[in-house]
């Protein structure tokens, strides 16, 4: 059966891919997608840990992760769409009037 | 009943200040209330003086304030504090009188800050709990910042901010040292105490004592001010209103000195004793440097400011020598300098009100136009030069003659320094009083109020000049205590 480390490593790689997506992409929606990937990676690690420690706590946590992800996406997309509607651009770096 | 009197003396002005704020819409009423409050406070201090002379034991108050930090509301009154409080109450009363006509906008706030600074200063002179001392040490800076900043002259904001930053930087460094001492004391004796008497029994290694003393010394040096950190004083004085200058020169500089010999020396006797020569050098630089620059000044207030740097230099020399004569000499000199410099600032303020500028070349030949003002000007100028028969002479001769007991060359150099003082004072008198008047419009001579103010100071100046013994007897006890105070001070005594 898979080695515990390998699953954790998979989770880690997914987390880093999500992070890279957040850093590289300029589109707000893509950044949100990156965050989703990172949350999903955490889920995988939780499930692996739960299997490793033989306790269902990890799996319960994944439920909450999903709830959080859903709520975040809902609010996030609403916010992004509203701001895109007002300022007409989806690019993250156009929002730089507040600086200094 | 007497211990209650101490707290009453401290917080009466604060309470009065709040009342004045309540009457902010009637400027005249504010002035009268604040006059009443300062008068009452002076009366309280006066009868405290009477009671103190009858039974001259130190009066103490010791209440618990913040239990978790072991901070106590501890006050103590001895000869030195009594004199300084008397000076504070007297000068603040004069400040209220002096700014009767000159302060017109936001009168209530002005008097509030004036009374708040009085509370700060009196509290500082009485506090024996290090934290309470530190609280009053920072509290006294804020009202003066506003006094200079709001009612000052043209470039007031820059001067106020500069003054504030200098003072608070010093005091924050003192905070670190203060906590350091308390913590070391706690590690040695197990209980947290801020009282000065308890703290000076802590045994410190030479290095830590050196560092802690350096922090305290820097805070006091900024306030005195000693040579390298003095540049805030001329700016603060030139921009401050007359009352502000009187409070600044008359009281705040004294708190620096007071801190030095009440806390600096007793708490760190070893470091103080070793670095006495550094203090001497700084004192001498102050004495000569201040007097020399005063000669090159064109602005009268700036000249008097540099002159007070020079006078304070002499006092620091007296302190650094740390023997019976020079110590009582410099403490007496604190009172004298407070009176004389305040009088000079009041006079310069009056001249400024009349001729509209503080520059000397605009103020020639005043003797013919205003004989009474010029008479007072000459009297106080002579007092600041140390003419025998007036008050500064007593202090100076005690410091300089007493200096021979410990370091003769210091006394000799000090006498030379006195000549430097004479050079710029005579130039000031000459360019202000003598010669042909620059303009021929008639300036009014002193009004009754102004004569009363200057007359009061003149009487005290002459009284101390001719009969300083009552003051010196008051100082006898505390000075002996400071000298022979704690056991590790004995090394100094033998010196």
């Amino acid at each position: 059966m898979a080695v515990y480390g390998q699953v954790i490593l998979l989770g880690m790689m997914l987390f880093v891919i999500g992070g890279a997506c957040v850093l590289i992409r300029r589109n707000l929606i893509m950044i949100l997608i990156g965050v989703e990937i990172m949350l999903n990676a955490a889920g995988i690690v939780f499930i692996a840990a739960s299997l490793r420690w033989g306790a269902l706590d990890g799996q319960a946590f994944v439920i909450f992760i999903m709830a959080v992800a859903a709520a975040e996406v809902a609010v996030g997309l609403a916010l992004i769409v509203y701001c895109q509607g007002r300022s007409g651009s989806i690019n993250a770096d156009t929002y730089n009037t507040l600086k200094g | 009943m007497i211990p209650l009197l101490l707290s009453a003396i401290i917080f009466l002005p604060l309470f009065g200040g709040l009342i004045v704020l309540a009457f902010s819409r009637y400027p005249d009423r504010c002035r009268w209330i604040s006059l009443g409050i300062t008068g009452a406070d002076l009366f309280l201090v006066a009868n405290l003086l009477v009671q103190f002379i009858q039974n001259p034991g130190a009066i103490t108050v010791d209440l618990l304030w913040i239990e978790t930090f072991g901070i106590r509301y501890a006050l103590a009154l001895d000869g030195i504090s009594l004199l300084l409080i008397l000076l504070t109450a007297f000068l603040t009363l004069l400040c209220v009188l002096v700014s009767w006509r000159s302060i017109t906008k936001r009168v209530a706030a002005f008097h509030f800050f004036l009374l708040l600074s009085q509370t700060g200063v009196i509290g500082l002179f009485l506090a024996t709990d290090l934290f309470l001392f530190y609280l009053f040490w920072e509290l006294q800076v804020i009202p003066l910042f506003f006094l200079i900043g709001i009612w000052g002259h043209s470039d007031r904001v820059h001067a106020a901010i500069k003054f504030f930053i200098f003072s608070i930087t010093g005091s924050l460094l003192m905070l670190i040292a203060l906590i350091g001492v308390v913590m070391i004391h706690k590690s040695q004796t197990g209980e947290v105490s801020f009282s000065i008497y308890a703290l000076n029994t802590t045994l410190l290694t030479a290095k830590t004592e050196g560092w802690l003393y350096a922090a305290f010394l820097l805070a006091f040096a900024i306030k005195i001010p000693l040579f390298p950190v003095h540049t805030w004083l001329p700016d603060a004085h030139t921009e401050a209103p007359t009352a502000g200058s009187v409070i600044l020169a008359g009281l705040l500089l004294k708190t620096g000195m007071y801190g030095l010999f009440r806390i600096g020396f007793p708490l760190f006797p070893g470091a103080a004793h070793n670095s006495a020569s550094v203090l001497l050098i700084l004192g001498f630089i102050g004495l000569f440097y201040g007097a020399w620059i005063a000669l090159a000044q064109q602005d009268m207030k700036r000249l008097v400011a540099y002159s007070s740097i020079s006078h304070m230099g002499l006092m620091v020399i007296g302190l650094a020598l740390w023997n019976r004569y020079t110590l009582s000499g410099s403490i007496l000199q604190m009172i004298n300098h407070g009176l004389v410099t305040s009088a000079l600032f009041i006079l310069v303020g009056m001249i400024d009100e009349r001729i509209g500028s503080r520059q000397m070349e605009k103020a020639g030949g005043l003797w013919r136009k205003m004989p009474l003002l010029s008479g007072f000007f000459l009297l106080f100028a002579m007092a600041s030069v140390g003419l025998p028969g007036l008050n500064n002479f007593v202090g100076e001769i005690l410091i300089l003659a007493g200096a021979f007991k410990t370091r003769p060359w210091v006394g000799a150099l000090g006498f030379v320094g006195i000549v430097f003082t004479l050079v710029y004072t005579l130039r000031l008198i000459q360019e202000v009083l003598f010669g042909e008047p620059k303009t021929d419009d008639p300036y009014p001579d002193l009004s009754l109020r102004e004569t009363a103010i200057l007359g009061a100071i003149a009487i005290v100046v002459i009284f101390i000049g001719l009969h300083p013994d009552p003051l010196l007897n008051l100082l006898e006890g505390p000075v002996g205590e400071l000298l022979g105070g704690t056991k590790n001070l004995l090394t100094l005594q033998g010196y």
Binding site: G11, A42, C83, R86, T97 | E67, L172, M183, K186
Partner: protein, 477 residues
Amino acid sequence: MQSDWIVILPHLFLAGGGLLIFCIGAFWKNRPDGTLFITALLSAGAAAVEALAFSGSGTPFAGMVSGDSFSRFFIALFCGISVITLLFSRRYALHRRFSGDEFYGLILFATLGMALAAGATHWAILFLGVELLSISLYILIAIHKSSQAANEAGIKYFIMGSAASAILLFGIAILYASTGEMGIVESLNAPDSRNPLFLLGLGMVITGFGFKISLVPFHLWTPDVYQGAPAPVAGFLSTGSKIAMVAALLRIVTGASPPVWEVIAPVIWTLAALTIIVGNLTALVQDHIKRLLAYSSIAQMGYLLMALLASRGDGAGASAVIFYSVIYAFMDLGAFGAVSLVSLGEPMARADRDSLTAYRGLGYEYPFAGALLAVSLLSLAGLPPTGGFIGKFALFQAAIGADYMAIAVIGIIGAIISIYYYIKVIAVLYMRPTRVPTPHTFPGFSGPVACASIFALIVLMGILPGSLLEVIAVILS
């Protein structure tokens, strides 16, 4: 397992109040003016009173929310913060057309989130509390839809917030993976701290906390969000969310085992030093008051962290942290509250009155708001008559007491630098010539009440801090 309901009664009040507000908003169309505001006040007040009055039994509720007096104190503090924010934002929200049920409801839910985060003994509750807090704040910041700055602030906080909570979550996952413990304290007192997986998880959790408390490498969002967000919300954000995370961090620090602490201490030390220096330095050249307050709040967090280092063992540090958090909460709320009172007169679309030139001679134009701002700034600077003075003293006493001399010196240097920009603002308020006064809009009753109460509290804490210190000592014992 038998759960002690008393423990979560305050949470219920908050949650119930929130739901009630949304029901009123939805069903009771022609309700009298201000009912939402009153219900929000009542529920927050009730939660605070309940938290202080009834002390539940020691056992944590459902094994996750601790009922000890530590968290009850913080719940009361959060409710106090939300009450004051509500008071300040009453007229402000009405004037800017966002005083609907969303605003009041979300304030209560945010307070609930803070209470959960501060009181959590289980990672799940901590994470959910933080998330509940963050999501309600995402909306609260962008609540003033017509202001472009608020939108931008909302976006920035959302993106950064979600990324940071993803990191926090992954950290918790790794911690669980390495220790198998879901309880916060249990997971942290692993026998040997050399276990690398544990360190990886710890690093990520610290980063997550770092973002929320806006420590220096992760602070970049703070000035922009505070400048963009409406003033009361900025106050709420700067005090509430930070203190909740500080409480959680305090629980972690005091709970961690010595080997774990030996790992955490250097990281916290570097973060504290960086935060104090960069926070204070950058504030020097700010010419917008909300950005300046943002940087000052970053610096204040640096000081708190300094005391956090000293909070193990005899507890002088812990009491200093709690005491200073209370004082900090009221100082910052006072400052942002004053800004909100002052910017009532601003035209609707524009953001608050922000640039310092607009504050010239304001001390005379708005005497009450000016006085509050001045006292809060004096207190932030740590000057005598105010609570900040005693607070700063407590912090430094704790730091030096625990032999963290180096950080104390950095703290003092930071304090000296901070004096300049606090005084610069006070000088602008009172010493610069007054510009043309804008027409005064009626500030209503709630604003001045909050203003007076904070003013009194700051000065009272400066003169008689004994009572609060005793309460804190009781909590920690």
